[in-house]
């Protein structure tokens, strides 16, 4: 009777009025009560013109597509992508200019997905234990700490630095026409002034830490884009930090500003680690960031020891020796690339 095997892309363009009539018939036959008279009338129309036949069969083809899918699940899947605010829907309406917006969304989306790939592809990197200073096009001085990876994207309307891993300290050159923004997967730190530190902390919580040495910085969370349909349900949170203040944030949460020793936090940029009464295991974990060799120790055994002082970051072995001079611990090298700290 009616064929169901027409290929989709045919060259014939059928007049709109014929398609409208075909839709009319299709809906009537599929969704409404029909009489024998209806069927006869339909057959007559169907056979009258090859274009009637073609238009109708195409509609049958489209209609039939739903047959092989689980209906309830299909509805869930389709409604999820069709809901307003969905980036693909915006594309259909606005065309090329929004394509760029979508591409930006995708790149931020992918940033959520795979930091290792972004780290791998980054243009500016430091290996473990190394530090580097870059002077940017606008005169800003960007210092990279150990094991850091970032990209610099300056444009006419903004100065963007994407930090994928590690820590930077920046002295921002004044440019009223372009804000300087350091972005991580968690959010942005935007400079209205001159000197601040940004660190991506990769522990169980995975957060970004900002410390301001001079002037003002505005930090904002970037809500996770992992669930595109939920795009509208996450709002960003912003706070303003003054000199001597710091915060930590994840994509969903911003800590309130707290008073911190910004100079100490940014001390690495002058090659030193300033410690104020910290537990030894924490200090060792921090030193590990700068050491290719694995620093091993029993956390419980050393937990009660506290450290204060200034340690050189350019020579970790030397720093550990300084510590063993202050505390009842000994430093040994049981094998290549392993440094063991134990009770004396």
């Amino acid at each position: 009777m009616h064929q169901h095997t027409m290929p989709i892309f045919e060259k014939n363009t059928i007049e709109k009025s014929i398609v409208e009539k075909a839709i009319d018939w299709h809906l009537h036959l599929h969704t409404e009560e029909t009489t024998p008279a209806d069927n006869i009338a339909f057959e007559a129309w169907y056979q009258q013109n090859p274009e009637h036949l073609l238009a109708y069969n195409r509609l049958e083809n489209m209609w039939g597509k739903f047959s092989d899918v689980d209906h309830a699940a299909a509805k869930a899947g389709l409604e999820a992508v069709l809901k307003s605010g969905n980036p693909t829907k915006t594309i259909a309406r606005h065309g090329r200019s929004v394509a760029l917006g979508l591409v930006f969304l995708i790149s931020t989306y992918s940033a959520m997905q795979s930091q290792p790939a972004l780290v791998w592809l980054a243009e500016n990197k430091t290996p473990i234990g190394a530090q580097r200073s870059i002077t940017l096009d606008d005169g800003s001085i960007l210092m990279l700490n150990t094991n850091t990876a970032l990209d610099v994207e300056y444009s006419n309307h903004q100065r963007l630095i994407k930090l994928y891993q590690g820590e930077v300290f920046i002295t921002v050159a004044k440019d009223k026409t372009r804000p300087l923004i350091i972005a991580t997967q968690h959010g942005t730190a935007r400079a209205l002034g001159t000197q601040f530190n940004v660190r991506l902390i990769e522990d169980s919580e995975n957060s970004t830490q900002v410390a301001v040495v001079e002037s003002t910085v505005e930090t904002c969370t970037t809500p996770s884009l992992l669930s595109i349909p939920l795009l509208n349900s996450h709002k960003k949170t912003c706070i303003t930090l003054q000199a001597g203040q710091g915060t930590r944030y994840t994509s969903n949460q911003m800590e309130t500003a707290s008073n911190i020793n910004a100079e100490a936090i940014a001390g690495w940029s002058t090659g030193t680690l300033a410690i104020d009464n910290q537990p030894l295991p924490m200090v060792l974990a921090e030193l590990q960031r700068y050491s290719m060799a694995q620093i091993t120790f029993n956390e419980n055994a050393l937990a009660n020891m506290r450290v204060s002082g200034v340690l050189p970051l350019s020579n970790i072995k030397q720093s550990l020796d300084i510590l063993s001079g202050k505390l009842p611990i000994q430093v040994s090298e049981p094998q290549d690339n392993v440094i063991a700290i134990s009770l004396r």
């Binding site: 209609w63 869930a76 999820a80 693909t88 394509a99 979508l102 995708i106 992918s110 997905q113």
Partner: protein, 179 residues
């Protein structure tokens, strides 16, 4: 993802596509890698982009190859993102659904997602009430009266909505506008 059959299309212009590929393939993979953050996706999409362009035949009209490549690749990315989205929700709904008459095989699920992706592309651009009316009719099997009740409109409006949805899909499928 990479369809082996696609390597022997009928009108593949080998000489021109070869140059385009040699000059731009690595660059395109890198560009896609930046966007997607996944090496497998980037490699697959780069291949699909060249295959799609190869079917056009005449390369000489392309003045700016990289812009052309990224435009094509972006469309494929949109498609991929949408398909992944559909898949996620389809699978969730299958898990939650009460009807356990059959267990869908991975192949069935893959085909269903492909089909839904095609349908979603056709329905894109329609206002919410219009596509909802269409889906309630076709997927839930509701009557015009029931749909009218749900959407808060008249039954004649419902029929108009569904007809409009079908026209929209028809035009998207059979009269693709110049991109």
């Amino acid at each position: 993802m990479i369809n082996a059959k696609a390597f022997q299309p009928d009108n593949l212009d080998i000489s021109n596509i070869g140059d385009l590929y040699a000059t731009n393939h690595r660059w395109l993979v890198g560009w896609l890698y930046q966007k997607l953050g996944c090496s497998f996706d980037a490699a697959d999409l780069a291949q699909d982009t060249f295959i799609k362009i190869a079917h056009l035949g005449n390369m000489s009209t392309i003045k700016t190859p990289r812009a052309y490549l990224t435009t094509t690749a972006t469309r494929l990315m949109i498609d991929l993102v949408r398909k992944r989205n559909i898949e996620q929700h389809y699978l969730e709904a299958l898990c939650l659904s009460q009807a356990h008459d059959f267990v869908a095989s991975p192949q069935q699920i893959k085909e269903a997602v492909e089909t839904l992706n095609e349908i979603a592309a056709l329905l894109e651009g329609l206002p919410e009430k219009v596509y909802r009316a269409f889906l309630m009719c076709r997927l839930d099997g509701l009557s015009y009266a029931q749909i009218a009740n749900e959407l808060g409109v008249s039954t004649s409006m419902v029929k108009q909505y569904i007809a409009r949805a079908m026209m929209h899909c028809y035009q998207a499928a059979y009269q693709p506008s110049a991109a």
